[in-house]
């Protein structure tokens, strides 16, 4: 059945749009945005509440589970949301299919690599003895 002959409204629009897919991607972007609303506010509020920003105070904060766990979530969900959002920008503005694939591949590698690097640094802080 070709596009336009489908029985349902959903069937008519499936596969259209600049990414050719994306219901799940769209929803994930929104769910992560709400998580980041909370985590981002937590992060900024925590930085403001800290009595000082010297290394000892900050390490102590991120060494405790109450600091390390939300921070880990902020890293993972933050990089995921950034990847999803940047993919929309790439899909909308990079029209050549080959270039679009390459851009999305670079984005994916940067997001996964950057996220891993940030998580590794956090793990060193959280599990380190120096706090």
């Amino acid at each position: 059945m070709s596009i336009g002959q489908s029985a349902t409204p959903l069937g008519k629009v499936r596969g259209l749009g600049s990414a050719r897919e994306g219901g799940e991607h769209w929803l994930t972007e929104r769910v992560t945005s709400i998580a980041l609303l909370l985590l981002g506010t937590w992060f900024i509020a925590s930085l403001l509440i800290l009595p000082s920003h010297d290394i000892r105070t900050v390490l102590e904060w991120l060494h405790a589970p109450s600091g390390a766990v939300p921070m880990a979530l902020l890293i993972v969900i933050g990089f995921k949301h950034a990847l999803d959002g940047m993919k929309v920008v790439v899909d909308d503005y990079v029209h050549d299919e080959g270039n679009r694939f390459a851009c999305n591949l670079v984005l994916l590698f940067l997001a996964v690599g950057g996220g891993a690097l940030a998580l590794f640094a956090l793990a060193r802080i959280a599990f380190g003895a120096n706090a």
Partner: protein, 110 residues
């Protein structure tokens, strides 16, 4: 229009610059006193402060226009008047919050 493109620009800025600074900050912290000092020295410089203030504004702006998008996803607030007021409020809110936060952080009031 403006609110929508600004949402993308701030999102891209937070994705690239914001996450890079966050990762650098964590690496600097995990590396010990020397690397953390290097980070705070750069962050405390004039350019560092401008970048951090810009990131703070981008975060609040993206947050508020994100909430606006979530509301519009439900099919609400498409009427021209409400839509425009909402868009303007996202800018007012982000600028005010950024100003208040850095006012406090830089101890301007003290």
């Amino acid at each position: 229009m403006a609110a929508s493109i600004i949402h993308r620009v701030t999102g891209a800025g937070l994705s690239i610059v914001g996450l890079a600074v966050l990762t650098w900050w964590l690496l600097a912290l995990s590396g010990g006193t020397e690397s953390y000092d290097a980070f705070t020295k750069t962050a405390g410089s004039l350019i560092g402060k401008i970048v951090l203030i810009g990131l703070t504004w981008a975060f609040f702006q993206h947050l508020f226009s994100g909430i606006r998008h979530l509301v519009m996803d439900t099919g609400a607030a498409f009427e021209l008047g409400i839509n425009k007021t909402f868009a303007i409020l996202t800018f007012v809110g982000s600028v005010l919050l950024t100003a208040a936060l850095w006012w406090y952080l830089l101890g301007v009031a003290k």
